[in-house]
């Protein structure tokens, strides 16, 4: 194994992300890039400040910081898995990224390690957003003695959890290779990860409850998730760091041994609907929407989640359906060829209606069993219009994200920035309107106007992209 090759590939992957992800759609302009960066930094700074104020006000000087840190520690594995699911599903479609390395003189093992390191750095950035504010605030409130505690409770378990998940993934890939179904891993891996989430969520809740109970009763509590924290407390941060490094090295070794020797491409499309639908233009849009592997993954996640709610007798309105509506991000780019390769691509407004309509059909198909399960659980009929409006609005927003930040084929990371920016803006607007405390009718009118604005911007964006494609304007 040549370390220089691994480092070179790792660098290559990051250059790819920076050039191909941060230079497309609205982000092609330097002003937009700086604005997005400022928005993200401000959001993170605001989040850290808020976290600091909350922790200082509620836990400062109360002695409760330790159990809160323990509760955060046991939830690290859950959040690592959530991040891993997101990254894994995205990376599955990263053929373009992997193809870059096929022409280089590197072995598959070197590629695996470089890709693993790259994944690790992406997961680290995401974990920084999840736990960064909490870690900084805890150290600011608790003082320097909390630095080793935060390291041993949050960051060491986070990295170990990621490495263990990676090892599990490669072992699963090996098993699928042996069973000769490796090409179907785009379907099987998300299902396994979804089941993992379903299993770990109640475990994390139970652990948090036990920590709270132990604190009230004044006794010590231990679980495998708290191993690093306990070691740090008993033997100090240096021994703990050493154990962490040895453990990480051992897991990385196991990953290298488990990684398959060759890369098997995945199936990116699943034929679910009959081809006669293609006789109509709207039918083609429906076929495009249903055949995507991301659609299959999202539908499977929604179904697994609904079954989990059924098994644990949890009755919540089925807002989980929103997961399906995020497919709108791919709707424009996946159907782009339909508008480019025909002599009469149709009017932009009609094409927009087809895009949104095909997503509504998908939502309707998935909603029937999910809503039936929710109603059987005891959810009232009144909750359904709220869920429907939320999901339909989400379809419009997702479609706009896909037009403003078009995802590139074989490069799924292009959606990340658009999703983060849009979600931040949507949450701020929702919170802002909540502060105004308008009459429900006025709030409804404002939301309708905002949705009309989204539709207007989407159509305007589509028209602009079509003009760019016809070389009428420069991008």
């Amino acid at each position: 194994m040549r370390r220089a090759s691994v480092a070179l590939l790792f660098r290559l992957f990051w250059i790819f992300i920076l050039r191909r992800v941060l230079g497309r759609g609205l982000l092609a302009s330097r002003t937009a890039r700086i604005s997005v960066l400022l928005l993200l930094v401000t959001a993170f700074a605001g989040f850290t400040l808020l976290s600091y104020v909350v922790i200082r006000q509620y836990f400062g000087g109360t002695g409760l910081l330790e159990p809160v840190l323990q509760a955060a520690n046991v939830s690290v594995a859950f959040w690592a898995l959530v991040t891993y699911v997101l990254i894994r599903v995205l990376f599955m479609k990263a053929d373009e990224l992997l193809k870059l390395s096929f022409s280089l003189p590197v072995t598959n093992k070197e590629r695996t390690l470089a890709f693993g390191l790259f994944e690790l750095s992406v997961v680290f950035v995401m974990m920084l957003f999840i736990f960064g504010a909490f870690s900084v605030s805890t150290v600011l409130v608790g003082g320097p003695p909390f630095i080793p505690k935060v390291l041993a409770s949050i960051w060491f378990p986070a990295q170990t959890a990621y490495l263990l998940l990676s090892l599990g993934y490669y072992l699963l890939e090996r098993a699928l290779l042996t069973l000769r179904v490796s090409r179907l891993r785009s379907l099987i891996v998300p299902m396994v990860l979804g089941l993992g989430l379903v299993a770990i969520f109640p475990y994390t809740n139970e652990q948090s409850a036990q920590i709270a109970q132990s604190h009230v009763e004044g006794r010590d509590y231990w679980s495998p998730a708290l191993s690093f924290a306990l070691l740090q407390e008993k033997a100090g941060i240096w021994i703990c760091s050493l154990v962490f490094l040895v453990t990480s090295a051992a897991i990385v070794g196991a990953i290298m041994a488990a990684a398959p020797k060759s890369y098997v491409p995945i199936r990116r499309f699943f034929i679910l609907l009959p081809s006669w639908l293609a006789k109509h233009r709207f039918g083609v849009y429906i076929l495009v929407m249903f055949r995507n592997f991301e659609t299959t993954v999202a539908v499977l996640f929604v179904i697994i989640f609904s079954i989990f709610m059924w098994v644990y007798h949890l009755a919540f309105p089925p807002y989980v359906l929103a997961l399906v509506t995020f497919q709108g991000i791919y709707a424009y780019s996946n159907s782009e060829t339909l508008r480019r390769m025909v002599p009469f691509p149709g009017r932009t407004f009609a094409n927009y209606l087809r895009l949104v309509g095909s997503q509504t059909v998908l939502l309707g198909v998935v909603a029937i069993p999910v809503l039936s399960l929710s109603l059987a659980q005891g959810i009232s009929w009144d909750a359904i219009p709220h869920v429907a409006v939320f999901c339909l609005s989400n379809i419009l927003i997702s479609t706009l994200i896909g037009i403003a930040f078009p995802p590139e084929k074989g490069n799924p990371f292009t959606v990340l920035i658009g999703v983060v920016v849009t979600l931040t803006i949507v949450m701020i607007i929702a919170l802002g309107l909540n502060i105004f405390n308008f009459h429900p009718a006025i709030t409804a009118i404002i939301f309708i106007l905002l949705n009309l604005l989204i539709v207007g911007y989407s159509i305007f964006g589509m028209q602009r992209l079509e003009r760019i494609a016809r070389h009428e304007v420069v991008s």
Binding site: I429, L431, G432, N437, F460
Partner: protein, 103 residues
């Protein structure tokens, strides 16, 4: 059409920016209200936060907008600023184009 697009873009982004300012001010006001029974104001008196103790010992939180004028002024100022910046930028670009064509 150009002016319509420019003004609608400015209105949209100033709406989002105003919401960011309102939410940020509200959060700061909320966490600066340490005493129960005292109404705290933020953003030039536009937003308020008021924790009140009930007779049964529980605390209720009253929050919202007490005066919409500062928020409206911020919205208008931001929109006007963006329209002005967009117009100046457009003229500068046109000037640059003219200079390049003259070469």
């Amino acid at each position: 059409m150009k002016w319509f697009l420019r003004i609608s873009a400015a209105l949209t982004s100033s709406f989002v920016l105003t919401m960011i300012v309102v939410v940020g001010s509200f959060i700061m006001t909320m966490f600066s209200a340490r005493e129960v029974g005292v109404r705290k104001f933020g953003l030039f008196g536009a937003v308020f936060f008021h924790p009140q103790e009930q007779s049964d010992g529980s605390t209720i939180l009253e929050a919202g907008v007490s005066n919409g004028a500062p928020i409206a002024i911020i919205f208008v100022l931001l929109a006007a600023f963006q329209v002005a910046v967009a117009s100046v930028l457009e003229r500068l670009k046109a000037h640059k184009r003219r200079l390049q064509e003259a070469d």
